[in-house]
């Protein structure tokens, strides 16, 4: 590993540095603001280091508060992060034959942003692209942990009225949804998710609506597969 490859990896990761530290800090502040956690920084450190997932980092604050059943935790984690499985599919070839520990670390640290940087692959000529990817992955990993932990410390230290700060989570999901709906192919699935959630909300209390909503969604997707799958083939208008 040379300083040249480090410099390249660090330069590419700068936008992620900005994004992860600020977004992580927001999630950390939320976790500390939850109030009844004895050691928010410790839990922030553990969850950010092991899960490395933005949406989860926000929603786990809600889980920690209401002791959401673990089955539901597993189910929602699955639905939120299923896209990571798709990223892996496109990396299958590239990661073939590399040492198992390095492979495992690259798989473990796969996020939207890290994936994008690894695919972009700005390895300087003559350097190892594996080194480059490992550096990008560890830098991004570090930024995320630092952001979340700093946020928990900040949140515990700042004496302000934080009522309503949990809207940050709602806002995050609205932002992701808005961006996803820019792409035409995502609009019908998003609408199906919206309708299924509303139907589930009518029949179940809010803390029990997730699983019925997911089942409705799966049913709808299997039922309308012919029509929805056809959308994929159309060029993006």
């Amino acid at each position: 590993m040379t300083s040249k490859v480090f410099k390249a990896a660090f330069t590419s990761s700068l936008p992620v540095l900005m994004g992860y530290t600020t977004m992580g800090a927001a999630a950390g502040i939320l976790l500390a603001g939850q109030g009844n956690l004895a050691h928010p920084s410790l839990w922030g450190l553990l969850t950010s280091a092991t899960s490395i997932s933005g949406a989860l980092q926000f929603i786990c604050v809600d889980w920690a508060r209401s002791h959401t059943p673990l089955l539901q935790v597993a189910f929602l984690t699955f639905c939120l992060n299923i896209r990571y499985a798709m990223y892996g599919l496109s990396l299958l070839e590239r990661l073939k034959g590399i040492p198992i520990w390095k492979k495992l670390y690259l798989i473990w640290t796969l996020t939207d942003e890290t994936y994008a940087l690894e695919v972009e692959n700005k390895t300087p000529p003559g350097e190892s692209s594996l080194d480059y990817c490992l550096l990008v992955a560890s830098l991004d990993h570090l930024y995320w942990i630092v952001g979340v932990v700093a946020g928990t410390l900040l949140g515990s230290a700042l004496p302000f009225n934080n009522q309503g700060i949990d809207f940050a989570m709602t806002a995050l999901f609205l932002v992701i949804l808005t961006d996803q709906c820019r792409e035409r192919n995502n609009r019908t699935p998003a609408a199906i998710g919206l309708v299924c959630a509303l139907v589930a909300k009518i029949f179940f209390p809010v803390e029990k609506m997730i699983i019925p909503a997911m089942l409705l969604m799966l049913g709808a997707f299997l039922l309308f597969r012919n029509r929805l799958d056809r959308q994929e083939v159309q060029p993006n208008a």
Binding site: E93, L174, D179, N186, L218
Partner: protein, 114 residues
């Protein structure tokens, strides 16, 4: 369940499921001779579940605001609606997630703390 036990199990579940998802293609198709082509149904569901799950979470988050206080006593959800529309509008306009989240949240905190 004691607080720390729950939090530990929660963190383990989140991390375990995330890792399994990330590793899934390598576990399932890593050894295939054709370089790994997953069944079409897998790619299809993977593509459509993601936006649907996010839309569902939006409904979930908004419903949670009215769990304890019914609609009329919360000014019919005006604060939530206003802050939500601000987030969407800003994101459409500036495409800056942090800006949209920050402005939306501060507006919401201002509206409900008055």
């Amino acid at each position: 369940m004691p607080e720390n036990t729950y939090l530990f199990l929660m963190a383990t579940t989140m991390a375990g499921v995330s890792l399994l998802l990330r590793a899934f293609p390598f576990l399932a198709f890593g050894h295939a001779k054709d370089g790994g082509h997953p069944p079409k149904i897998v790619t299809y569901l993977g593509r459509v579940i993601s936006p649907a799950a996010i839309a569902m979470l939006v409904v979930y988050c908004f419903s949670a605001y009215f769990k304890e206080t019914p609609l009329p006593q919360k000014s019919w959800g005006m604060a939530e609606l206003l802050a939500g529309l601000t987030v969407i509008g800003l994101q459409l306009w500036r495409r800056n997630p942090l800006l949209s989240i920050l402005v939306g949240t501060i507006l919401y905190m201002f509206l409900i703390q008055r």
